[in-house]
Amino acid sequence: MNFKKTGAIIACLLALSACGDNPFGRQDQNGGGTGTGVNIASNPSSVAYFQQTVGDRVLFVVNQSSLTSEGIETLNGQANWLLQYTENTVTIEGHADEQGTREYNLALGARRASAVQNYLVSRGVADNRIKTITFGKERPIEICSEESCWSRNRRAVTVVVGGLNS
């Protein structure tokens, strides 16, 4: 276990620069850059700005759907943005890593998406602007079988689906 953990940390350090690159050259379906410094949208109302500057995703602990303090910070930004650009609606996609069974992970992804929805609603975003969906373990963005990848796959991604600037 110790060895495994150390291995995972080393793998992560080695992979730091590569982590953001998709080995198959496929953009995450939501355009999902997490601020790699390229093409940061300067227009604050744009979807690209939401994705890259506000941050479109939050990450979760194994088997958990409770929000981390980092996640809450991101969601505060999302809530502010949504309250400012009220013409946008969003779909929150909940995901799990590959360490669970398929159907449990569907339910877990739904729980994560719902946790994000509930938080945004608690910050004043209208409930009917938010839809949730789960992908369970069906759509990983990182494909290694190490914690460095799993931690990025345990995510809820807020996808802007409607609005003048989309």
Partner: protein
């Protein structure tokens, strides 16, 4: 699908004047598979006799599939044709038992096939106890169209299996529905696929536009329920296998998944997620109405009926971790049955009713296991980085599941293992494959 007619040929056997040896009644040739086998039972299956020219092409294929079924069960060992002293060129000629005994065959399977001008095929076979020098059971013959030749082979093998094991039924004449997978791990394409239990006759039932997951057969194997993202979110669909027509089972809002039929085919139990909370519902297929069976903030999913339809085993994290519970088929209070370390999911009730197969995750590894329905006598049958999703053979003797390899190029394949934990085998499929579900014996 042509319906295969089965004709017991008792009179035909009697006409041949075959006489049971006296000791065959007292000690029938029998392989005990509940006790654990050390040595598979050796048998010989000489090339089936082609009784007319049109049958030539089928004789070898039939013999080969019957042999492959029996050997694949892990209970029988083939004595190859090269070692045979006797050749069987006439199905009705007397068996030279001494020549089969000399090569240590304990069971002998003889067969014959003829094909009529309208492409109908008659397959006959007999099974003999070589040591007792006597037939084991009556001769059987099956009649069907020639394109059903594989099913005829499986029926012969099932009959041999039943006679030599004493099990109530075999499992070879059956199908498996599964998910065919292709492409990179982060953009996997999935299709619903159907195959014979041994991987033959693969047929794809959907295209790869939408994610499809975890199919199950209806009791008569004419319909399949599965989860699809066709509408944009996970939804349970019902598909007719012959026409491929399909419809959303429950059109009310919410994500639905993990569907399974009740043993009488009247209901589908499945998970429905509402505002992040997943519970189990029973859906009346004909009426379109649904009943909520669990009601807790926990994740409740992967329901599976007992074969008598009275109970449902499912997984829930209501106690913290993912564990197995049994409740009445009408819902209500549930009793936890899994207590080992780690988490338990995907419970499947055995068709015999006596055991539950499951996926167990412990110490970062996935296992396929079985336990009694009260949770006792847990036994792990297979384990790897990711072994998941057990499904029972029609007779409850074999479990199929999928095994996924780790890493960036990780991909799933189908495996089967005997309920004793022996005879782990990979089932070859044209693509990656996951989520197998075994049918009952075909009708």
């Amino acid at each position: 699908m042509t319906r295969i007619t089965k004709i017991l040929c008792m009179a035909w056997m009697m006409a041949l004047g075959l006489v049971l040896a006296a000791n065959a009644q007292n000690k029938p040739l029998r392989i005990e598979i509940t006790e654990g086998i050390i040595e598979p039972l050796p048998f010989a299956a000489p090339l089936f006799v082609a009784e007319n020219a049109a049958a030539q092409e089928y004789a070898a294929k039939l013999t080969q599939v019957v042999t492959a079924d029996l050997v694949g069960s892990g209970l029988f060992r083939e004595i190859p044709a090269a070692a045979h002293i006797s050749k069987v060129s006439n199905f009705n000629a007397p068996v030279q038992f001494s020549e089969w005994k000399a090569i240590n065959a304990q069971a002998l399977i003889t067969g014959a096939v003829s094909v009529t001008s309208d492409n109908r095929m008659v397959v006959k076979f007999r099974l003999f106890d070589v040591v007792a020098q006597a037939p084991l059971g009556k001769g059987l013959q099956f009649v069907a169209s020639t394109d059903s030749w594989r099913r005829m082979s499986h029926k012969v093998a099932d009959a041999v299996y039943v006679r030599l094991t004493g099990e109530p039924s075999g499992y070879f004449d059956s199908r498996v529905v599964y998910i065919a997978e292709e492409g990179p791990k982060n953009a996997r394409k999935k299709r619903l696929a159907l195959m014979d239990y041994d991987g033959a006759n693969v047929r794809y039932l959907t295209n790869s536009n939408d994610i499809v997951l975890a199919p199950r057969f209806s009791p008569n194997a004419r319909e399949i329920i599965y989860t699809s993202y066709e509408t944009g979110e996970p939804r349970v669909f019902l598909m007719n296998v012959d026409t491929l027509s399909r419809r959303v089972l429950d059109s009310e809002p919410g994500m639905t998944f993990a569907p399974r039929f009740s043993p009488d085919g009247r209901y589908v139990v499945m998970s429905l997620t509402n505002r992040g909370n997943t519970d189990i519902y029973r859906f009346d297929v004909a009426r379109g109405s649904k009943t909520r069976l669990t009601n807790s903030p926990a994740i409740e999913t992967a329901p599976s009926y007992s074969p008598d339809g009275n109970q449902i085993v499912f997984e829930s994290d209501r106690g913290g971790g993912q564990q197995l519970y049994v409740m009445s088929a009408n819902g209500g209070s549930a009793k936890r049955i899994s207590f080992g370390s780690g988490s338990y999911g995907t419970p499947v009730w055995s068709p015999r009713g006596d055991m539950i197969a499951f996926t167990k995750i412990t110490k970062g590894r996935f296992h396929i296991g079985v336990m009694r329905v009260d949770g006792s006598q847990e036994k792990l049958l297979a384990g790897s980085f990711l072994d998941e999703g057990p499904t029972w053979s029609p007779n409850g003797r074999v479990i199929m599941f999928f095994r996924e390899t780790p890493g960036a190029n990780g991909a799933p394949s189908l495996f089967s293992v005997d309920v004793t934990g022996r005879n782990l085998r990979k089932i070859n499929t044209p693509t990656f494959a996951s989520d197998p579900a075994w049918s009952r014996l075909l009708e």
